[in-house]
Symmetry: C2
Subunit: 366 residues, 2 copies
């Protein structure tokens, strides 16, 4: 399924709390960007999330799911709300349903130090952090979602599942991504599987399959690392890593840890990719404490939108899309390099200030 | 079982590679310390680890296990070796067997910034990092150790188990520890369960049981936090936390991450405590790359020994033991405050230099 550049249809799910705010900010930037590059971008706004669940009894109804499934890409704000839970106590997270139902096995979570954003690590090399956590997003421990059991209020069990098929696809994706990053951005071309193969059968299996796939990509360096050692190295020498495929739960942990190193969740975009579908979403939550105050940092959402444009370009939407993606990314960098400071990094620029700063750098920075 | 202060018997397992080196360093410090405080400390040196496995076919034979079990405490160096694995590919880790067989559910892993050790985080508050990861060490995902299955080379399964009994004990332990830290060291008395209750049945169960126990400890503040948010907060504001009980796998990850914040594994002691038994061990591995060169940093081992003396004091070994524990801890702090810099923190002090520096501060610093 190739994308037709004249009529790219994006399913837009603003979600809850700051979700709609960062979505609106994102649209405000995408609008002039699309005009500049003559992108035929159409949005289909859909309701999903905790408020939808509260009002309709469904976090994402079938009609909504079908429309999202039919779109060329799905762009999410943020979903969930502390006070609203499913009857079993778990979180309203339609994004998890989308990952599972659309087979979005490749959770791409770039961790990149933006110029100007104050470093969290003391080591000056932290300015060079540029890695991607590749979180498997359809199985692993999350295979137990909705399937765990509690026996007699005495013992609970959740089963982690790792399959050959998904590990092969994830590994292939990782090598392709590393190759592309080497070609386009001069990265070193290194794929490091993060596992716990020294203790678990499932991870020993994952490592075996990973190295089988690695043998088919001799141009890219392949390595593996234990999750505990990786957590340590994320704070000791994150600049030494490139692409890090890993199990779902491990990827959830490492991607938030990584976000912490480059300014927090406000700077953490994500793309959940499958063979035919893709969801783009800032990794942050709904932040009820700051909702409605115009304080939300829209950067993660903007970076997610840049990933979407890039993905659409790769899917055949055409050259203008790739240029728009690069320009958006460059404008975000330029805005922070030029002094933009959002409240989450001790600045005072609100959502609309950030939007203005990024729009102001469109074109000039590309 | 109370400990008799005149005849405390410690099972000593130096282990592999740098294990024996840091063990020797530890004994060199414990010897004058025991003399100063008149401690009746006797060591029973036992063989276990990867080399034992290579030479005898058993990483820790039954006779060795029985002698360790009969001791008042067990002190380990480091075990394992990259090239030596069990037939199923998993690591030679008798320390895991000890945790499971002796029911050492409370894995105490203090993360404390030592004065003088260069900070990894840019924020000056990092000098105040002082928290404890309390890693449950007998179940959780590790319950799958040796029990995972691979079906048809196609799919692997490992089951995480969380029980009410262990969660209750772990939680009780956490509140007691926080209370003690508040009384002795002015910490704020905060216990934060780290889980993923928004997705997993087992973690929702763990959280429920934790709060039942919390209700019995109204003098200590109880909170919970998601593992992904916690990984983020470990780099954003670790100084805000105190005692962090969590599941086995999560605790493994968080404790290494925490170690990274305070200088690395060379500064990370641990105690695995059960109702009657206790293992003390530096959290680092066997570091084959630096073994035999006199470069190993013995600090984690010394801090582990200080935890052992303190635990023995609490078990009835008497006042001299508590004083010796405090004196050892203070001497380590004083040595680093006084300029000791080991190779892992870009210094040049070898193992014996570190030993000398710490011995030099015994007494003077207490
Ligand atoms: C909301 C939550 C269930 C979700 C997850 O754990 O996958 C989130 O943390 C994420 O990383 O997208
Ligand atoms: C050696 C390894 C199996 C062990 C573990 O994961 O428990 C180690 O990492 C630890 O933290 O003690």
């Amino acid at each position: 399924m190739a994308v037709n550049s004249n009529t790219v249809r994006v399913a837009l799910m603003p979600g809850d709390d700051i979700g709609p705010e960062v979505t609106e900010a994102c649209l405000a930037v995408l609008e002039p960007l699309a005009r500049r590059h003559d992108l035929g971008l159409r949005f289909d706004t859909l309701r999903a999330g905790a408020m939808a669940y509260r009002d309709t009894g469904s976090a994402m109804d079938e009609e909504t799911f079908k429309r999202a499934e039919a779109a060329d890409a799905i762009l999410l704000g943020a979903m969930g709300w502390p006070g609203i839970r499913y009857p079993d106590g778990t979180e309203i997270a339609p994004q998890l349903d989308l990952r599972f139902r659309l087979g979005l096995y490749a959770g791409v979570r770039p961790i990149r130090a933006l110029p100007g954003v104050p470093a969290v690590l003391a080591d000056p090399r932290a300015a060079g952090i540029d890695l991607v956590i590749l979180r498997e997003s359809t199985e692993g421990l999350f295979a137990a979602r909705g399937r765990g059991e509690v026996i007699d209020d005495r013992e609970a069990r959740d089963t982690m599942v790792i399959t050959r098929a998904t590990t092969e696809r994830l590994s292939d994706f990782a090598f392709g991504l590393a190759r592309r990053r080497a070609a386009q951005r001069g990265r070193r071309g290194l794929v490091t599987l993060v596992d716990k193969a020294n203790v678990f059968t499932g991870f020993a299996f994952m490592r075996k399959v990973f190295h089988e796939v690695a043998a088919r990509h001799p141009d890219v360096e392949a390595a593996h690392h234990y999750i505990d050692a990786m957590a340590l190295d994320m704070v000791r020498r994150p600049w030494d890593f490139d692409v890090l495929p890993t199990e779902n739960m491990f990827g959830d942990i490492l991607s938030d840890l990584g976000a912490g190193l480059v300014g927090g969740m406000g700077f953490a975009p994500s793309a959940d990719l499958g063979e035919r579908h893709a969801v783009f979403q800032p990794s942050h939550g709904t932040a009820p404490d700051i909702a409605g105050k115009g304080l939300a940092n829209p950067t993660a959402m903007l970076l997610s939108a840049a990933m979407m444009l890039d993905w659409l370009a790769c899917r055949g939407a055409g050259a203008g899309w790739a240029e728009a993606a690069a320009e958006l990314q460059a404008a975000i960098d330029a805005a922070f390099a030029g002094g933009l400071r959002t409240p989450d990094i001790a600045g005072s620029a609100g959502t609309s200030d950030a939007v203005k700063a990024v729009i102001g750098h469109l074109g000039s920075a590309a």
